[in-house]
């Protein structure tokens, strides 16, 4: 992997992403001309990018006017420009899909592997010879220790996301070696909000555990406090790094030719323990009684409903609470010394900032959106009561249960339905007194796909677009019935289709 290439102009993929827009802001601040690859329609995507930059004190209009910010329409999974209007010295590939499970479109493999392959072929055609690849420190998979090298032997992975990023690194390595090109790989660990303020635009990874405690707090409010066992190692560490540090390191490496051609673990040298994070979350939400139980001692059965709630809510990141690799940071330490940067620590107040920012962002999202809330109310409170009696469901006299629906990305969208011998006996909005046998959590988009009959609810669950809490078996069987109902009486709200 060659180095020593001056970079005065770059193309950035994923510029509207959590890390990408910060890298863009850093580079514009350093006087680098930045072309940003935006999926069609580029003007709409630019409309999303401008406020992101504005929040960082960057005037996008000024940079557009002086030509230092250049929108380029293209898609790493589709069509890329046959020729760039303005040549670039290198590409920063920050576009990625961070799903942990495969969806029906083939993501994250489609974006992270096939998209990267497509981009590399295009770069070859364009004669672009410098690549900064934003990967993840967790390409180490299940290895207990990770080096700042590309390991030739594939490790076992926790999920398809880790695998996809490992495969992308291998593709990039081959591209670099075969063509004598420059490849720099940046491997951040778990990226969280800005250190000083907690500001973030994405809330996965670490935030999943915070959400789980928030859910627990809400449940405890209804059901009363209780001791809750959480599967994990209290002294295990969650390697969180602030997005501003990550972006500054990547941008700094881009403009420092001597830093090219290496691999950097943008990780925290002293990450907080799972216990410290749990303590901070419990303090914030006013919860007590949670304790970690090591995985080999965690009970296989007999979990309380609160414990199942936490387990299901944090299932996607559970292994990160028990499995903490040791990241070599030799290259990163050298780069930090060159750039005068250091990864900050996470004492209690810093953790508190992260949690406060996230929870207030979630609360802001929970301000009802008129259109969405009206459609959901329409569905549950008018459409269902009108059509269930006419449907096959009403003939299922053995159907007596209560179920709950929670739409994660629509504030206040939560309904419980009670069936009595096939009849819809009760529908209640919000957290309420109906004790459900099971429930579904999903997004508005997935919900509308299901109730319009376009997608089977079981498929949404099996592809990770919905989750189930409570009695899984009954929930899956009910999904069969819900699908039959949706095909018999599809519901398509005007705006939500």
């Amino acid at each position: 992997m060659n180095n020593n290439t001056t970079t005065s102009s770059v193309l950035i993929t994923g510029a509207t992403g959590f890390i990408g827009h910060r890298i863009l802001a850093e580079l514009l601040g350093r006087g680098v001309r930045c072309a940003v690859l935006l999926r069609p329609a580029a003007c709409e995507r630019l409309g999303r990018l401008k406020p992101l930059l504005r929040s960082l004190g960057v005037d996008a209009e000024r940079h557009l006017a002086d030509g230092s910010l250049i929108p380029v329409e293209g898609d790493i999974q589709g069509s890329l420009p046959s020729r760039l209007a303005v040549p670039v010295d290198g590409v920063i590939h920050a576009a990625a899909c961070t799903r942990f499970t495969l969806d029906s479109q083939g993501d994250p493999l489609a974006t992270n592997v096939e998209g990267t392959a497509h981009l590399l072929r295009w770069m070859g055609e364009q004669g672009i010879r410098v690549l900064h690849l934003v990967s993840t420190a967790y390409v180490c998979g299940r290895r207990p220790a990770a080096t700042e090298r590309i390991e030739s032997q594939e490790p076992g992975f926790h999920n398809v996301y880790e695998r996809s990023k490992w495969q992308a690194e291998r593709l990039a390595e081959r591209w670099a070696v075969e063509g004598g090109r420059s490849l720099t790989i940046h491997r951040p660990s778990i990226v969280v909000g800005e250190h000083a303020t907690g500001a973030a635009t994405k809330f996965d990874g670490f935030y999943v555990s915070i959400r789980a405690v928030e859910l627990l707090a809400k449940a405890m409010k209804q059901r009363g406090p209780a001791a809750v066992r959480i599967r994990g190692l209290s002294q295990g560490r969650q390697n969180i790094v602030p997005v501003d540090y990550v972006a500054a390191m990547i941008a700094g490496a881009v403009v420092t030719p001597s830093a090219h051609g290496r691999i950097y673990h943008l990780t925290n040298p002293c990450p907080p323990t799972s216990q410290e994070i749990l303590d901070a979350a419990q303090r914030h939400f006013g919860v007590e009684g949670c304790r970690f139980v090591p995985p080999d001692q965690f009970p296989r059965s007999g979990l309380t409903s609160l414990e199942r709630l936490v387990r299901q809510a944090s299932a996607s990141i559970e292994h990160y609470m028990a499995d903490t690799p040791d990241f070599d940071r030799s290259n990163t330490c050298e780069l930090e010394a060159i750039l005068g940067l250091a990864c900050p620590a996470y004492p209690a107040d810093a953790m508190g900032r992260l949690i406060r920012y996230a929870t207030s962002a979630w609360a802001r999202q929970e301000t009802p959106q008129r259109g969405d809330a009206a459609h959901f109310a329409d569905y549950f409170e008018r459409f269902l009561p009108r059509h269930v009696p006419l449907s096959q469901v009403a003939r299922m006299t053995g159907l007596s249960l209560a179920m709950r629906f929670i739409i994660d990305d629509v504030p206040g969208a939560q309904w419980a339905c009670r069936f009595d011998r096939g009849q819809l006996a009760d529908v209640k909005h919000g957290p309420n007194s109906i004790h459900e046998d099971f429930g579904y959590r999903t997004t508005r988009q997935a919900f509308w796909k299901a109730v319009s009959g376009r997608v089977h609810p079981q498929e949404l669950f099996l592809t990770g677009q919905a989750s189930i809490f409570g009695n899984v078996e009954k929930a899956m069987k009910m999904a069969m019935i819900l699908n039959a109902f949706a095909r018999e009486f599809p519901f398509v709200p005007e705006e939500a289709a």
Partner: protein, 226 residues
Amino acid sequence: MKCTAEMERIRIPGPRGELAGELAYSASSPSMAVLLVPPHPHMGGSMDNNIIRCLAAELTTLGAITLRFDYAGIAAVAASMARFWETGDAPEDPLMVEDAAAARAWLTRTSDLPQVIIGYSFGAFVAVNLAARAAPRALVLISPTIAQHDFSALRRCAAPALAIYSDDDFATPAVKLDAWVRSMRPHVEPRCITSANHFFIGREREIADACRPFIQTALAAQEAVA
């Protein structure tokens, strides 16, 4: 893992009409044929099920031709759904065993290779029934629904069998499954994957990783005897 295998959509003549199916194979000469039997359609079972799809692609790296298929239509009518809701089985269940038999027969006619049958959930029950009629070279049962279905036919099957299951499977309590596996030893080799419930979402490759050495060993042992 990005699948580099060839994929071929096919139609299989079945007792209730044509079955949709897909063959997967790598460019090199195959050494075995694998039939993948999906879960119950009422529980999201189809050839596009996450585990079935993963195994279809992954096992081609072992040199397998894999066949996955859909059962013929199952009635989304109140009577069928009501019975399934209450009992966990549907009137069409015996017919689905015959659908799977038709798929197996198609695979046998298409490729004269050592055959492996892999069934997931209800598909494990179907697989055992197929294996009892004519033993494959190896049998893999993923999340076998022993609390729901009768797996006694397994005792009549001479093929080496691997049972892959999770310790928190709602379909079958861990204690019951442990006892069943113990009662079947040494006939059935158990492999427990912890905390994957019944669906193994995001952990499909762990199943593939468990299948590979078992299948390789089973086929190699039989070749050595031959």
